[in-house]
């Protein structure tokens, strides 16, 4: 067992070091996310080529460091001769937007359901819990294809589908948290003296559920990016003019043996970003869960 370090006044270098030691995980995660976000934001300035510039004469060129590669295409080209580095950079735009969109939508739906169920209890809870159960028992892959088959692929559809896959996570966490807060004496007291419901929700409940929501959100962000990739595999991805990492991974599926870089590059980008999301989630959980705080 490690002995908890007693808090003591520390010299500046020590404090800095301790800060880094305690937040390594979070810092790594945040750094990767920051890189991905900057790639997305500044893509037009960073990317060496337009992402959809086809060059049929330069198909399947390997990365620069591999024999036959050149510095023109640092990470090589794909089956249509498009620059993979540029596509990975631009891909961040779509993949991160899907992640962010799904997180926001999922969080709104899930938290509202959880909040209502937890706060009002009784039959409201019963009905909403039933909804949660139905959603959970519905095989996700099928639901996704269903919806995409009905409404067609595209950015909005994919965001909705991923949000549908993740809202339950928020609902369950928020419901539990709200229930435990609602039973606290001070909330009960506020209720008895007739403080308006909205006010109670805003002042007592919301601050308490914010941190679990953020934790779930960072995990869901990771899940969303992976789900987008899986949907691309099923042929119902985001589509559109711009590449997403999932789409690139899927494009490279038949080239694993003769052009591994087509899948490796977007694969690494996906894995790193998902990793970053999970790292941030872990870190936030450690920070905000009082039981784990040392």
């Amino acid at each position: 067992m490690t002995v908890p370090v007693a808090d003591r006044p520390a010299s500046r270098p020590f404090a800095v070091r301790r800060f880094f030691a305690r937040h390594t995980i979070g810092l790594i995660g945040l750094t990767i996310l920051l890189c991905a976000v900057s790639a997305a934001l500044f893509a037009p300035w960073i990317a060496p080529h337009p992402p959809s510039a086809v060059n049929l004469m330069a198909r399947l060129a390997p990365p620069a460091w591999v024999e036959g590669g050149s510095m023109t295409h640092l990470l090589g080209t794909d089956n249509l001769g498009r620059d993979i580095l540029s596509r990975v950079i631009y891909g961040a735009q779509v993949s991160l937007s899907v992640g962010a969109g799904a997180v926001v939508l999922g969080a709104i739906i899930g938290s509202s359901v959880g909040l209502l169920a937890g706060y009002f209890g009784g039959w409201v809870d019963a009905v909403l819990s039933f909804l949660i159960n139905v959603q959970l028992s519905f095989p996700f892959t099928l639901l996704a294809i269903f919806l995409l088959a009905s409404f067609g692929g595209g950015f909005v559809s994919v965001v909705v589908v991923v949000a549908l896959a993740t809202w339950v996570n928020y609902a369950r966490v928020v419901r539990g948290q709200v229930m435990s807060v609602t039973n606290q004496d001070y909330v009960e007291a506020a209720r008895t003296v007739g403080v308006p419901t909205l006010r109670i929700l805003r002042h007592y409940i919301l601050p308490n559920i914010l941190s679990p929501i953020i934790v779930v959100a960072s995990f869901s962000m990771a899940q969303a990016i992976l789900t987008e990739a899986a949907l691309s595999f099923l042929g119902v991805g985001v589509g559109g003019t711009q590449p997403s990492w999932g789409m690139m991974l899927n494009d490279g599926r038949n080239y694993l043996q003769n052009a591994w870089w087509m899948t490796a590059m977007p694969g690494i980008a996906t894995a790193l970003t998902v990793l970053a999301g999970n790292l941030c989630g872990d870190w936030l959980q450690d920070r905000t869960d009082p039981r784990l705080r040392k």
Partner: protein, 501 residues
């Protein structure tokens, strides 16, 4: 602990439930064929896709005539035929043929089968009656029938090749799900074992009227991933692979297998939706500009690996009008045409494709990149196959779309799809002058006169450009070095013609 034990027991039980792989008997080497899809239903009258379900049905059942790889009709259950008058065909039937359950094949069997094809649900899948205008099956004697059509037709033999004859009593008196899973035909093979979603095994019918096939056991396996199919071929665990994409074609060449390339018949194009969301497409100059803007020969040489050639007409050789030439790649001319039509700065255009044909995404993206060069602003959209088909049949796709039509050699069928309001006319193209020529041709029995009409129609449609013409869809197959087989352009496999080297 208890839980642990019962889990283990469950696993053991499951392991026992797995089928032992018995197919590998040593005496006659079975042939394993891999394709991407499952065999769906073995009801011969529910057949609508050709591979692998079609290949199985072609093997278990016979039709009156066989469509040879070059598109001509050769005898199968019918030994000879003649046209009695404009609307009547007379067929002599093969004698001494029995179905695998012992029922005899005769004129009555044909009548029963054709009648079944014309009832729901089969009539929404079967083409025979609709395409030929067949109204009556007349029994002359036990081995002679006459087929009477509403109007003169040149398509009778073509569609008879896809009208399969099953044992008449059996299909009449058996539950539909049994008919669909336990087929009884007169073909060169009978069904051995069928593990849905995994494999289907055919066993040679040694009593086949055409002689027993060389390959005694044929197994069709469903392997969705093209890379897996190729890897199996290279490992020698699969002998014949169907559905290889152009880019991975080279991988079919290995020390145990060869790549076979067949220049296909299906005419691939970007359909131009004249009534879609982009009104500019209604202008013939715009449609011609699109054709001039895309460098089809270069795409064929690179993306398609030189495996096919650009379209030269909407009718397949040898019936194409030889005076037509492909639109030259000329971006300047394309820009000029666009400017002339009033779109000097181009316009937004949606490119759509479905999963129906491999490579829809790549092709659309390449075509889009070329169109961008002449000022058009492309957006891309993958469409789910059901939605896509609905869009095709209502001619309501958005802009231009990747599609292929008519993998056949029959100018009449090839031309009719672009007539006004035809169900296959997904462009929404309508030109009465063209329609008149096509209809007249389909009712002209004199070969030379008909060809003249067809050539004229081809010229009109080519220059009106309801399609952005691409190429003929090539087919790639992989085959074990130990086998020889002549592949067909239409992707059907006839395993009874496979031989060992």
């Amino acid at each position: 602990m208890k839980l642990h034990r019962s889990l283990t027991a469950g696993l053991v039980a499951l392991t026992l439930a797995m089928p032992a792989h018995t197919a590998w008997s040593q005496d006659a080497e079975p042939v394993v064929i891999a394709s991407s899809e499952d065999v769906i239903s073995l009801d011969p009258h529910m057949l609508d896709s050709n591979n692998p379900t079609g290949s199985v049905i072609w093997s278990v059942f016979d039709s009156l005539v066989r469509r040879a790889p070059d598109g001509t009709s050769v005898p199968r259950l019918a030994t000879e035929w003649e046209r009695v008058d404009d609307v009547t065909w007379r067929f002599k039937l093969r004698e001494g043929v029995t179905f695998s359950n012992g029922e005899p094949f005769n004129a009555a069997a044909v009548q029963v089968n054709f009648a079944r094809m014309n009832t729901a649900p089969f009539n929404s899948v079967q083409q025979l009656h609709d395409q030929t205008g067949l109204t009556e099956v007349r029994i002359i004697d036990d081995y002679t029938i006459e087929l009477v059509t509403e109007k003169p037709t040149v398509n009778m033999l073509y569609w008879l090749a896809e009208a399969f004859i099953a044992a008449p009593d059996y299909i009449t008196n058996t539950a539909p799900d049994v008919v669909a899973s336990a087929p009884v035909g007169s073909g060169p093979y009978v069904l051995g074992e069928w593990n849905r979603g995994d494999s289907l095994t055919l066993v040679a019918n040694d009593a086949y009227w055409g002689g027993a096939p060389a390959v005694k056991t044929v197994t069709f396996r469903a392997i969705p991933e093209v890379s897996s199919r190729l890897n199996e071929l290279r490992a020698g665990t699969v002998d014949l692979v169907v559905g290889i994409t152009p880019d991975s074609a080279e991988q079919a060449n290995s020390d145990v297998s060869d790549l076979v390339r067949i220049e296909g018949l299906r005419k691939m194009h970007m359909g131009i939706s004249i009534k879609g969301e982009q009104p500019a497409l209604a202008d013939v100059r715009v449609r011609q500009a699109l054709n001039h803007a895309v460098d089809v020969p270069t795409i064929v040489a690179s993306l398609m690996g030189g495996s096919t050639s650009p379209l030269v007409s909407i009718v397949n050789p040898p019936n194409n009008n030889p005076d037509l030439t492909p639109f030259a790649y000329d971006p300047e001319k394309a820009k000029a045409l666009l400017a002339e039509a009033g779109f000097p700065d181009g316009f937004p255009l949606t490119l759509q494709w479905s999963t129906r044909f491999d490579g829809g995404k790549e092709v659309s993206e390449v075509v889009g990149a070329y169109l961008e060069q002449v000022g058009i602003q492309p957006t891309y959209e993958a469409v789910e196959i059901g939605q896509f088909r609905a869009g095709l049949s209502s001619a309501s796709l958005k802009g231009i779309y990747f599609q292929g039509w008519a993998a056949l050699i029959n100018p009449s069928v090839e031309l009719v799809i672009l007539t006004c309001g035809h169900v296959d006319n997904s462009s929404g193209y309508c030109n009465p002058e063209y329609d008149k020529l096509v209809i007249e041709a389909s009712q002209t029995l004199d070969d030379q006169a008909r060809q003249k009409l067809e050539f004229a129609a081809q010229e009109i449609i080519w220059n009106d450009a309801p399609w952005l013409y691409l190429w003929r869809l090539p087919s790639f197959f992989g085959i074990s070095k130990e086998l020889s087989y002549e592949f067909r352009a239409d992707n059907y496999l006839e395993p009874y013609l496979i031989t060992y080297k």
